[in-house]
Subunit: 349 residues, 2 copies
């Protein structure tokens, strides 16, 4: 595990040591994915999405593809936030064109269906992917391990699928907070092990995806987003004090301030609706800011795209900053727009 | 039209004259709706939702029902934000259990399908509803007229339905901002007439619903949310300087500050994810704050509900404030929870 020193050969890590880099490091959420023909070729070799996640040779290959093509400053292990419920023995299926389907857990009594001692074999495949990627990755490229935040993973487990309003989990939180806390605590425990294993296998940065953080009143946000993340980060830091952790509380709005100040994360990944001024001026000074180009703007390309990229880079020229999208790359994105983005950020044009 | 003086017999209007009222006025978004058995009875008499909107006798009846039952401080005319595209001759259908369907407009060329001179007959029915409601409403109850904000209405017109990410309109904005501006300008013009007619018929407060304001980068938010709203409010204020206007830029997050400061609205309706501290401390002092109980918490009831209502009322005890939900009431909400809410806010329990 490389030390987080200013001398690290990995530019991504130097940012977490407090350095402002010009140009900033860049990687993109969902950079390994359907917009790349070489990804679609590998994807066609397996039956379903989860099989790709659980086949280390192929998962490593698709993890490396965007780094080869675009020379990103970081790779992110190809996996999914629903590997955790799947490894816990909740049935997870990915229905083509529809998204994930899980056998919903609707009450504390149904938590008995989960088996925290069963996770190892499936997690092990992800760890093997991490190890393979690390072996083939350029020394200068960081490797990001990740998991879903307890709240967001719980919303899928409770709802049985993605949803606009996460009503199942939110109602449970109101009606039986102690019951839901049992699920959240279980996810905290399992996530510590899952992320620790990724670090042990070679990940040198972590990201915690809280995609559904943004739909909660402030008291609920504190209880179900900030607190579980703070505990999770604290337990990781106790074991791996030098591994930077990035949090992505999508849609947190003004509460991103409290999230950055209180969870212990080193970096904050900002969604595309987060105002640049807020990111630059209202987050804690020590927080590394990551973000936040609208993925649709990358898809669209053109003058609006070029000028917004320039605005973003200029806005954070004086701050420890990582260039990224505000959410995952869209499958219809032309790869040449991604190449153009990297060129613009690196000032090669 | 009543003057906005501190002596108004309508408590809702006194708040806009700068008074802090104890208890605060209360009404609920979508207070006329499926959670009420008397609404479902009326709804069953017509073929579809739009027919209900366009039948003044019935629309007035359902507008009045929640005021009779709960003695709210305001009624809001029963209508829909998609009446504007429907009146413009874009085909709008409400599919039961699926939401609205429109024949999508995908380019500036297709704007020719819209007919701004055709709106009067359909708008007239809404104006008649307003007039009927005003006649039967207690003198102490305010009457709210409303429309969708140009951006939000445009997202439906472009997408052809509700959508998670409003990708159609957002892509159009990036690729052909001048073309989309033609649609937005047309909606501004039509909305001025639509809201003016509602005021002339007896509405004494307006609310502009921008349900999809919250998914835009800051520059797009300024261009498509703040600017059209500022123009719309300015034109209304030129005609009706004393009629208060409430804006509801759902999901605006930190940008709610700029929205409140720059659009000219008198009140800001806050979604349930807006932190109370932000609402209390970071909005312009003269802005009337409205909100923002989570509708799911009203549905759930119980101790979490009761304590949050108390927290909200206490938080805004020193400020011009209107109690409301953070979004529309859920159809499964028990009416007795609504009665309990009104009791709690009015300190009757």
């Amino acid at each position: 595990m490389p030390a987080r020193t200013t001398e690290s050969e990995r530019r991504m890590l130097r940012v977490f040591a407090g350095q402002t880099l010009t140009p900033p490091p860049i990687w993109l959420m969902r950079q390994a994915g359907r917009y790349l023909p070489e990804y679609r070729e590998v994807r066609a070799r397996v039956r379903d999405f989860l099989e790709l996640c659980y086949t280390p040779e192929l998962a490593a290959e698709v993890t490396l593809q965007p780094v080869r093509r675009f020379d990103f400053d970081a790779a992110i292990v190809f996996a999914d936030i629903l590997i955790v419920p799947d490894a816990l023995n909740q049935t997870v299926r990915f229905v083509e064109g529809e998204g994930p389907r899980l056998d919903a857990i609707r009450s504390a009594a149904e938590l008995a269906r989960l088996n925290p001692s069963a996770t190892r074999p499936k997690f092990q495949r992800v760890f093997e992917t991490v190890a393979r990627v690390r072996q083939d990755l350029p020394h200068t490229t960081a490797l990001i391990g990740f998991c879903g935040a307890p709240w967001t993973v719980a919303t899928y487990m409770v709802e049985g699928q993605g949803s606009v309003d996460q009503a199942g989990a939110r109602l449970w939180a109101y009606r039986d907070p102690q019951g839901l806390q049992r699920l959240i605590s279980l996810l905290e425990d399992v996530s510590v092990e899952y992320l620790s294993g990724q670090i042990d296998a070679g990940a040198d940065v972590l990201q915690i995806f809280d995609s559904w953080a943004g739909n909660l009143p402030d008291d609920q946000f504190r209880h179900w987003v900030i607190e579980p993340t703070r505990r999770l980060v604290g337990r990781l830091k106790a074991r791996y004090p030098t591994v930077p952790v990035i949090g992505f509380p999508r849609g947190a709005g003004p509460l991103a301030r409290a999230y950055a100040a209180e969870t212990g994360v080193d970096g904050l990944s900002c969604d595309w609706a987060m105002p640049l001024k807020f990111m630059a001026q209202e987050l804690p000074k020590h927080t590394v800011v990551q973000g936040n180009l609208d993925p649709l703007l990358l898809l669209a390309g053109g003058p609006a795209f070029e000028s917004r990229v320039a605005e973003l880079v200029a806005q954070f020229a004086q701050r420890a900053f990582i260039f990224n999208l505000g959410h995952g790359i869209q499958p219809q994105t032309p790869p040449e727009n991604v190449a153009r983005l990297v060129g613009l950020v690196r000032g090669a044009d």
